[in-house]
Symmetry: C2
Subunit: 173 residues, 2 copies
DNA sequence: ATTACTGCAAAGCATTTGCAAATGC
DNA sequence: GCATTTGCAAATGCTTTGCAGTAAT
């Protein structure tokens, strides 16, 4: 399912988010190195420990280029040479969010989704009520508007999230 | 805790959302009537039944003027003259969202929050990482920007949600 | 009369947590 | 060596669900 998406995108894409994802996939190895360096700095600063498990989880999380669920990632790491326990996955994902490598998404269903943000294009989502599809869109003006609102309220923005619910083009009869 | 907020707002407020809430509280009785009429129409259209429980829950949900959790509302309705069971509360809240009387908020913690939207001023939220406070802000330009994005993507908006995470004025040292 | 809804209590299930063993510093 | 982290498995707790009884049409 990931693979299919990868293949179809290989052909050509005019969607800026898809293009960005393509780029991210191609540059995965180097990006993970940079991300790891940043995460290590974050951990040191917190005087937390730099561990194998944390490296494995960062790597696995950044390798996913869509929204994923904590339990899915935990399941995928529950066996194999780099196995990490479920509890550790949950604990580490929280750290990665804190460090700004991932963002949490809590809209689609009851379960939390995560999405890589490290060196990724800032984008927002439209979610189709009918088919559940996530449509990604880029709108710098939106971000600017939010920055302005924060200034007005003396609010120090760490990150923001915009979601639109409704019916997508394909589902509109 | 609700009461305190109500009292302090009674004095005076320059916050448009707080003012709107004041107005809503004053006009609660009539607003519930209009909301009920609209909900009845919604139910009829769905050929669902117009029941006592549904009236009670609509009333209770609109009486709350902040974000509330399903389990809190369920608890508050678990005894008293108008008691309704937990299951029914959950089931009805979903209907009220579908009917557009409430909106779901899934950001703060794992639990879903609800917020009345019927005849309320459209607003967005900033959530403080430190104190967890919800700051409400109104920004019509933001809504317009989103409308424009939807037009571009042929997306039929039912509703949207904007949240900003970060540190509020009071918590910024 | 029929059919949907409610109440109840049990089940579901992602996430969290306590504790002993392991690992980083 | 000491403190943090991990793995494990059990607990947690909100939410959902099945079913028998009740209420709406």
């Amino acid at each position: 399912m990931h693979e299919n998406a990868a293949i179809s995108e290989t052909v050509l894409s005019t969607n800026p988010v898809a293009l960005d994802r393509q780029r991210a996939r191609m540059q995965h190895a180097e990006a993970v190195e940079r991300a790891w360096a940043q995460f290590v700095a974050f951990l040191r600063d917190k005087s937390a420990r730099v561990t194998q498990s944390r490296k494995i989880i960062l790597d696995a999380a950044l390798a996913r280029d869509d929204h994923f669920r904590a339990d899915q990632l935990a399941a995928s790491l529950s066996s194999g040479p780099n196995r990490v326990s479920r509890g550790t996955v949950y604990r580490t994902l929280a750290l990665l969010v804190e460090a700004g490598m991932l963002r949490e998404i809590r809209d689609a269903d009851t379960h939390v989704h995560y999405e890589p943000t490290f060196e990724r294009l800032r984008h927002e989502h439209m979610i189709c009520d009918q088919c559940g599809q996530f449509i990604e869109f880029v709108d710098p003006a939106l971000s600017r508007q939010i920055v302005a609102a924060c200034r007005q309220y003396n609010f120090n923005q760490r990150m923001h999230r915009v979601v639109v619910f409704g019916t997508c083009r394909d589902c509109a009869s």
